[in-house]
Point group: C2
Chain length 298, copies 2
Amino acid sequence: MVYPKHAFITEVGPRDGLQMEKQVLSTDQKIQLINGLVTAGVRAVQVASFVHPGKVPQMADAEAVIDALPPTETVEFSALTLNLKGMERACRTPIQWIEVSLSASETQSRNNSGMSVDEALAEADAMIDLARQEGRKVRGSIQCSFGCVHECEIEVVQVQRLAERLLNKGVDRLILADTTGMATPPAVRQNLAAILPMAGDIPVGLHLHDTRGMGMVNLMTALEMGVAYFDTSLGGLGGCPFVDGAAGNIATEDTIHLLNSLNVATGIDYAKVASESRRLSRLLGHDLTGKMYRLLGS
Amino acid sequence: MVYPKHAFITEVGPRDGLQMEKQVLSTDQKIQLINGLVTAGVRAVQVASFVHPGKVPQMADAEAVIDALPPTETVEFSALTLNLKGMERACRTPIQWIEVSLSASETQSRNNSGMSVDEALAEADAMIDLARQEGRKVRGSIQCSFGCVHECEIEVVQVQRLAERLLNKGVDRLILADTTGMATPPAVRQNLAAILPMAGDIPVGLHLHDTRGMGMVNLMTALEMGVAYFDTSLGGLGGCPFVDGAAGNIATEDTIHLLNSLNVATGIDYAKVASESRRLSRLLGHDLTGKMYRLLGS
């Protein structure tokens, strides 16, 4: 079995993880967490989202978090946006990477952004234009790429249609997100076989949730196809807004442990990430779903 | 990717799972659980272990459980034994399958059975002799086949030595157990490459724990090598006696969900298993580590 020699991990816990938590962390607490992750060797962190603070109060301090980020040129910090207003807010900060997030599911698109998929695609054009004008790098992401709890199966052609639009517009990275943890190894193979040739030199990454216990097999399936970009979350933090008690993203430290065993280098010290997870678990007052942090954290 | 068309699942929750629970289930509660699993289509259940009732009070009613098993000829019921005394007890019941469990780790062997590996091997000879004399089928299992928290790495030659002894003595099935969840895909490949040719027609199975989040990738790695026998536990019930808060076996319903997606048939209705997990979780008063039961159980 041949795997990539290196993998690039984007830690999304401070955004995808914390947005699901009842307890709203202070800006200082978030910065302490982000600093800990950077010290562990993480080279990309999604630190905030520019969404309505009434809807997602956990992310209301997006500007303050970005203002307080550690000065480093070797770490990619990113923020997520769902509409032009969010993109405008993002562009008033110095954040270097901005994610433009669409959904392949009509229902989820309306729930998430109040727009149909076609409306969201048009909005994404304007968002990407603005980001490029402002000299920012863009992560284009497609939520529900592998299924949707409302609409069940999502057709590959639908994912291709969104991917083509984002790629033509000039995103710097394309992320297929398994928002509800419905991906399976055959679905990962099918989608990647359709998308990878379209993307050419633009890296394609996966954002996997472990809602159905498939996160790691899906990651390994993608690795075997040469994919080397993955979003993960410390301690498996996070959840699915549709499903009570469901699991979050695949856990950063568990992923690194797997990648290490396959000789895929990431530069990340998973024991240090696990320590951050353990600290965060105490702070949030509940267990996280990841495994390694229970064994390794201090 | 080519996978086996069918997989044979042995549900070990009533033994490996319940032995870790503080709450001791009554015989009636165990039988209700076992009946539920059989109704879900499970064709093999490990229902008890014959170990010292002072050490493992959860299994003190082994004889009573076996007496109350549903009358069926299509389900393999098994019990675990660690020494000749346990085998003698098992042979006084009508249980058809008996597991003779050794450990590849000296420390774990002494902790578990009070014997060195060589002493346990000699005892296993006598145990298998008795079982065959009494017309029972034998599952020979090797704990810590992929590592030990006390001794770290376990050499493949050590696993081979134990496997050869069990195979020569005439076990009907050989199980490599990842007792502490230390297996990785390369370790699974290495061990299976060494053991499968030795086993010939005797089926080789894996007993995987998800302590480090690797359970499913290890299962998929073994599937890709043609292995089709797996031990699983409803809801991921169980744990590791060495590690507080660590995960149990790979969850039956999560495993079936993965196998279904790969078109590997098991005959098991994973939604029905999930219902049993949900009921058991309520009975035990805590969440289990599996994923699917949170979504599917009723």
